[in-house]
Symmetry: C2
């Protein structure tokens, strides 16, 4: 598999009988180079199919124009939307993306971090796995002054910026809405209470209960991995409750949908028997019947904001620790699944 010889600035310099320095300058459109020379160089470069060698340049410049992205999973609507947002900003600014998924495992996340580190990404965008217990594997980045920004699933840390929504408040409003509709016995389906997003949503849920003098019951907290299947399992659990709960607040739409489908199959009517509120505003929330009340989560915007912020750090527009938490707007979207008197 021999490759055609690459054209270098030496080739161009040779043919034009000028120095590589001039060629290098011309190619960067350095105004100091004579217009005519520049023109000749550009033309020849084009003709020869010259392409600049990133490695040589990076080797000199000590930067890669690459941003690393570590996500728990690629295949969710939310995540692909975030990545589309990141990609949009990054490409505009001339950055490439290296993307890996941790598959919700702390182990793989550490590995990914190492890969990113060794690939010398200029900056890192991370959404933590379910499993992650500490942030030690990101210390290597801070030590080298490589900015790390967490989005969605992050953790408070002096060295890292977080981009997120107000999960507590959103969950509070979601739960309050259910209570306002007259549902009091409310189950909460979520993931392990390790990640901020789930902890905060749980807090919001509890706060709403408390404010309405509804005692929190341990057995109303159902923990799973928030997949459709986990939703189906949660439905089993719910069906065994006696009396049945009146409402369910799920930390993610997909899981809510899985749960609703199973309950419906078991003859439960939504929202008459049990009301539902989800989280994320995944398109599926408008497909399920009844349509799912949910919290709108600005994924695309979150991706853009995180990337923009990272790039600003990189450009030195502001110092690495200048911002620490960016909160995006989110809001409850009320649909039929939670309304006592739905049409």
């Amino acid at each position: 598999m021999t490759r055609e010889k690459e054209v270098t600035i030496y080739d161009i310099a040779d043919k034009l009988n000028i120095s590589i320095a001039t060629v290098s300058r011309a190619l960067k459109d350095d105004p100091v180079v004579n217009k005519k020379t520049k023109k000749k160089i550009f033309e020849l470069a084009e003709q020869l199919g010259y392409r600049s060698n990133h490695f040589a340049r990076n080797l000199r410049n000590q930067r890669t124009d690459t941003i690393g992205v570590i996500v728990p999973r690629l295949n969710s609507y939310f995540m692909s939307t975030v990545i589309a947002g990141i990609e949009n900003v990054a490409n505009d600014e001339g950055y490439n993306l290296i993307i890996t998924q941790s598959s919700e495992s702390a182990e793989k996340e550490k590995l990914s971090a190492k890969t990113m580190f060794n690939s010398r990404v200029d900056g890192l965008l991370v959404s933590l796995s379910y499993d992650t217990n500490d942030l030690l594997h990101f210390d290597q980045f801070s030590r080298k002054n490589i900015p790390v920004i967490f989005f969605d699933r992050g953790e408070e840390h002096i060295n890292f910026t977080n981009v997120l929504i107000d999960n507590r408040r959103s969950a509070y409003e979601a739960t309050k809405h259910l209570i306002g509709q007259g549902y009091k016995q409310i189950v909460h389906i979520t993931a392990q209470l390790k990640r901020n997003v789930y902890v905060d949503r749980f807090k919001g849920y509890k706060q709403a209960l408390e404010e309405n003098s509804i005692p929190f019951k341990d057995e109303f907290l159902i923990i799973g991995n928030l997949s459709i299947e986990a939703g189906a399992q949660a439905a089993e659990t719910i069906l065994k409750m006696d009396p049945l709960p009146e409402g369910v607040f799920v930390a993610n739409d997909n899981c809510a949908v899985g749960c609703m489908l199973s309950l419906k199959q078991a003859g439960i009517r939504i929202p008459e028997n049990i009301a539902f509120v989800g989280f994320n505003n995944d398109p599926v929330s408008k497909v399920i019947e009844p349509n799912l009340t949910t919290v709108n989560y600005p994924g695309y915007e979150m991706g853009e904001v995180a990337a923009r912020n990272l790039i600003n750090h990189l450009n030195g527009t502001y110092p690495i620790h200048s911002t620490n938490t960016i909160v995006l707007r989110s809001e409850l979207i009320i649909r039929a699944s939670s309304q006592r008197f739905s049409k």
Copy 2:
């Protein structure tokens, strides 16, 4: 933003009073190096926080261990599944991914190709945009013997391998199934007939009609961008038909769902009045009521196969033009939306 000085093999060599050559060899685990020396080197490297410089290495080795991926859109279930598959294989084999989206525009696709080329990806995985008219922007890769593999949306070309499913056959079976259920007046909703996948699905649809002596009607071909919204629009068109068609075969589940929702809202019953078959087996097909009959599309597997194949090319396991088309198995999944006598 000064970064801590990077540790190089020179530093290690200095401290250990050996040559950089030995350090370099040891770090690659070259068996020729004395075990003890190697151990010392590894320990010191660890302690100093040494990380190898990819650029220096790439500059020497003329390879990047990077695979480029160009997709029309990141945010569909299908695409994120494919990418998860690619990522899985690529990471296992020590390759990084650079991902860009063309946003269904030929222009952006060309730009992406250029970026990839300049980033010197070792190989390229592409799913073409709706818009793309020619493959000229991939010629630069063949000229340099850089393998390019198309997945899902490709085009026959002597230089490039395609990984796909048998779209014609799948569409044929889907349509035949509708006909078998007694639906004869069948609308086909799809995208511009530019990409293989849509052309082939259309062919399969037509073939099934022909074999059953059902004349194809021009007005039964509805072209859009296959989004949920396009589905809603298609529903408008359908509702104006008199008489109404009996069945609809949609080239993608999302669009089918959009269409079904609108029709249902207009009082049409599915499948009693109009039957539906989709394509892709997106999870949403099991959420919509009635559940959508669809063609199972092995996205994850497609990603794995495409990546595996590319990497085999790169490893020289087989020559660049040895395979030209890889067809993955796909099959019709029959659900309630298309069954005359559904429960």
